[in-house]
Structures are given as structure tokens and as C-alpha cells.
Symmetry: C2
Subunit: 328 residues, 2 copies
Amino acid sequence: MGEFDLIKDYFEQSQTCDDFVQLSIGDDCALVTLPENSWLAITTDTMVEHTHFLPSISPQDLAYKAVATNLSDLAAMGAQPRWISLALTLPKADEVWLAAFSQSLLQTLKNYNVTLIGGDTTKGTLSVTITAQGLVEKGKALCRHQAKVGDLIYVSGSLGDSAAGLQQILSGKSAVGFDEEFLQQRHLRPTPRLVLGETLVGIANAAIDLSDGLNSDLRHILKRSQCAAEIDLSHLPFSPSLLNRYDRRQAEQFALSGGEDYELCFTVPPENQSMFESRLKNLDVPCTCIGRIVSPFGEKCGQFSIRFFRDGQPIDYSPNLGFDHFKE
Amino acid sequence: MGEFDLIKDYFEQSQTCDDFVQLSIGDDCALVTLPENSWLAITTDTMVEHTHFLPSISPQDLAYKAVATNLSDLAAMGAQPRWISLALTLPKADEVWLAAFSQSLLQTLKNYNVTLIGGDTTKGTLSVTITAQGLVEKGKALCRHQAKVGDLIYVSGSLGDSAAGLQQILSGKSAVGFDEEFLQQRHLRPTPRLVLGETLVGIANAAIDLSDGLNSDLRHILKRSQCAAEIDLSHLPFSPSLLNRYDRRQAEQFALSGGEDYELCFTVPPENQSMFESRLKNLDVPCTCIGRIVSPFGEKCGQFSIRFFRDGQPIDYSPNLGFDHFKE
């Protein structure tokens, strides 16, 4: 099996029909159009073996997660996903692996109404780079730099599950009980919060998806928006499964520094709170207010940083800054 | 130096201003708009160490080539390049290497008026994946499937130089003489034929860029267009440097099976030939007619394949099909 047969056999299958895709896989480029009044949101994420996943990961989980983490970035902009390009680097053309990977990839794309429009297949260490693109109404995207003093800070879903699930996988624990299964699935199969993201357009000021841990990711909003935050740790939402297996302090660490939850963290101005809470009733994604945006602190305290509270009382707490590829 | 400092220090520098880029590096997604009456052309190419380049390649040459090969795909659609996303996988954060790589990347983008709008930086075997995007007038892109029987087949520039240059690099030859320098530069610094590509819009029926060798790449046009080709090998354009160092038969093999020339191969209907030849006078890219598109052959001969000639006489010739990652 050669490179071109491989692409044809596994990836050039019938897909969701998208009126805006003029030309898909099989030429030098794909060709797309945009509907009027739309901006195109573009994001790229790479997953490398040994860095982002263990060699033991199933091809199905790898394909799912590579798509989901990219769609999560679109969700964080309030964008509706439309198409992706796939750059797949493989050590060899293993047909069983490829059949499982491509089937999972195409099924995941179908579930989100997304078209695979092209890519590149090369030889090397296993690695998946996806460039995902989506549409958002002109001028309405949720950006990191638009948080305002007074905004309420929310997070979706529950935090820390993914880091706990990863710890279990790394320690070789198989997913025997409900809680273990839940936590490991939260690591392997994160849910991109796309419907929530689209709902937040026109309501939230700023948003980010939680890929590196709340402590690190929220700081990106603070730095870009030139403000600070107060977070009450007692408000952090945890799943029953996480609290069944870990104490609260450990759960907090997972949430703040663990990463890969792919929940959304966003800021809502108080005047939009009631509208937001009422729209939230139509979604099946719980969202929790965990703090608020405040004026920058003095230079000594880190101007654009986070002050932590527990049960309303300020505490002295410096959680780890979360995953960074090039820091020890 | 951490991941975020690295992106900030090396890649988040002032760039060409593009009115269509609404938001660039530093958020979950970049945001762009399209001008009216434009289609967006999208292409992705990966370069992996040991597969696409030797560890000895300079960071400057690597950055240049990663950009140029992607822009070449846009040229083959007749598209004008606008922005790229960069997924860079690095074994470590080597500041000297990164400074050289990013400077060359940004300078190359500037030369082509292209904006770096985002990407991802991860740890692993050195690998560069670029997704490049460009604009082409609605309905006017040069596709592989539109060649018609009777079209004249042209190639730009000279063929085979890159494969010869690679052979020299692999054999450890340093670029001492003019010819060696020329051939090695043609391998390391291919020129994306962007102006030619845009000129061909409305003139050529089909186009492809020559990345895997003429024999392999032309067949993509033939298969997609459901036709066959006749090529006269005596018309293949070779550089003086190639013919100074190799005999004509070896030059033909480089051209047909060697790849990485990143010249354009395109088909022009006879009624457009004089308009094409006159527009060509304003460009500094020589183009050579090497054959024509003909009706499909019988099934026994390979319906959508190439019949070779030399000095007008049919010859029995089956050149290697060119580079394929997963074929021996």
C-alpha cells in the first residue's frame, strides 16, 4: 500500500455535504467559500506520541481526541466547526490501525457535521496535526482580550477529571469500576463544548478552553485583558467520581494544574448573568461561577494574576502553572 | 524558556499587515475574513526529520523550504497566498536554532506578503507542518480534474535540479563549484511559482506542482481528468548546471522520478496558447511545452497514463513512479 492508495482507501470516503466546500481531498489545495457576515476561525493542534499520548492509546481514541481538542479551540471562540485538514505522520502503513483510526476520525467529524478537506500523510514518529476551521458571526467571536473588571468567571462541566484519569492510566490502573472508567474516559474522550460556545456569543466577554489547567489558562485571559481575578476554590465544580477517588485538595490541584479538561472558562458581565442562566437551562452543560474579574494588582503581587479564596476567605496559594512543553 | 515565552519571543513579531486578518497569534483561534468573490484555497504539508530533510539542514533552509513547498501548492491552484499556521515540533528549546528558524520563516513570509496567524509548539522529533491559505477568484482555481484532450502540456523552469542537488548532498559533496551550488540551492531553496500560477488563471485548464516527479504528478492530472498524455523527453527543460554534471538520460530520470522541483506542470488549450505565450513574456519564468493531453489509452496500456517519445519517435520507457512514503 502506497501513500496515495492509503489516502484514497481510508480518508477519501463519502462525508457530510457542506455547501461551502467547493473542492475537497485530492487536489493541490481544498477550496472553500464563506457565507456572508461570517469570520473564519482557524486553529492548529499537534499530538505527538510520548508527549501527548502513550503508545498504548487505541487508534480510535487518538483520532477522537485529536479532533475534539481542535474543536474545543473553536468552541472557545464561539465558532461553529466546518472543516479540518489532517497531517498524519506514521511509522508504517499498518492497515488495521489505519482502518480503526480513519473510521473513528470520520465518524467523529460526522457527529459534529465537519468535513475532512485535505491533509498530508508522511513517514515518521506517530503524530497528528489538525487544522480546524469554523464560522463565527462577524465581530462576535469570544476573544481572550475582552474580559472586563466586574465580569463573573464561569467554568463548564467538572474540572480535574482528565488529570486524574491520566494519573490512573499512567499508574497502569485498568478502568474496572464506574469511577475509574469515568475519569479515564474524561481523559481519552473530552467533549468539545461547541453548543455552549455558540450560546455564549453575545453574552460572554472572553473565553478560553482549559487545556493546560485553570491556573495557567485563566492567566492568558488576564494578561490579554490586562486585569486580575479572584477565584474561590470552594466553588470549583468536581465530579462525584473524582471526589470518590481523591480528596478535595488533590482535586483542586488536578483542576488548577492538571490540564486537558477541555471545559470552557469564560467571563460574563453581571448585566448578562440572568440571560445567561436562563439560556443555560436549555443546555445539558452545567456551568459554575467560580469568581470574578478585578482590577490589576500591584506590581509586587503580579499585576495580571489570580488571588485565591476558600469559603470566602483569602488564602496563600500558588498552584503549579500547568503543563508547558519546554519547562522542567 | 517555556512554550509561551518561546512563541512570544520568536514568532509573535510584527508582521505584514493584512486587512483580512482580524486576530492573529495569541488566542484560541485566529480570525480572518475573505474579500467578496474569493474562494479560500487551503493546503497542508509536513516535513519530518530523516524523512524530508537531513539533521544537517540549517534552520534557515528548513524554515524557507517548509514555507516554499506550501506556497507552491497555492501556486498550483492559481491562488494568492495570504496566511499560514505553523505546527512546530522540537526536541528541545534551542534558542540559537529558534532565532535562526523564526527569522528565516518570518522573512520568507514577508517576501511573499504572508502573515503567520497561529500554530502550536510541541515537544518531539523535529517536524514542521504548515497549513497555508490563499485567495483565488471564485470559480477560477486551477484544478487537477479539468485537463481536456488537445491541451498542450507545459512545465515551468528546469526539471531534475532538485533531485541532483539532493544526490550531491547525500553523497557529502560540498557546494564548491557554480553548478554544485546551483543544484543544491535548487533542492534547499525551491521557488514557489506564485506569479506564474496567478497568470495561468483563465488560461490553463489544469495544473499541479511537481513535488514527487513529473511521471507521478502528471498522472494525478490524468487520473482526475480521465485522459492520457504524450510527452517528448527531448523537450524536457534542463538547466546548464544539470547537463554539465550529468548525462541527458540521468537528467531525464531526475526529472521524471526525482521530485521536489516545485515547478508547475499545467495544460493549456490550443486556443489560449498565443495569449499564454504573450503573457509569459512579462514573467521571468521560462515555460516549455513538453507534450499534449490525448484520449485515454486502451485498458491494457493503462487508460490514464503517459506515452513517451524521444525526438518525435515513440519509445518504450517506464520511469519509476517517484517518491512515495509507504512504498519500498
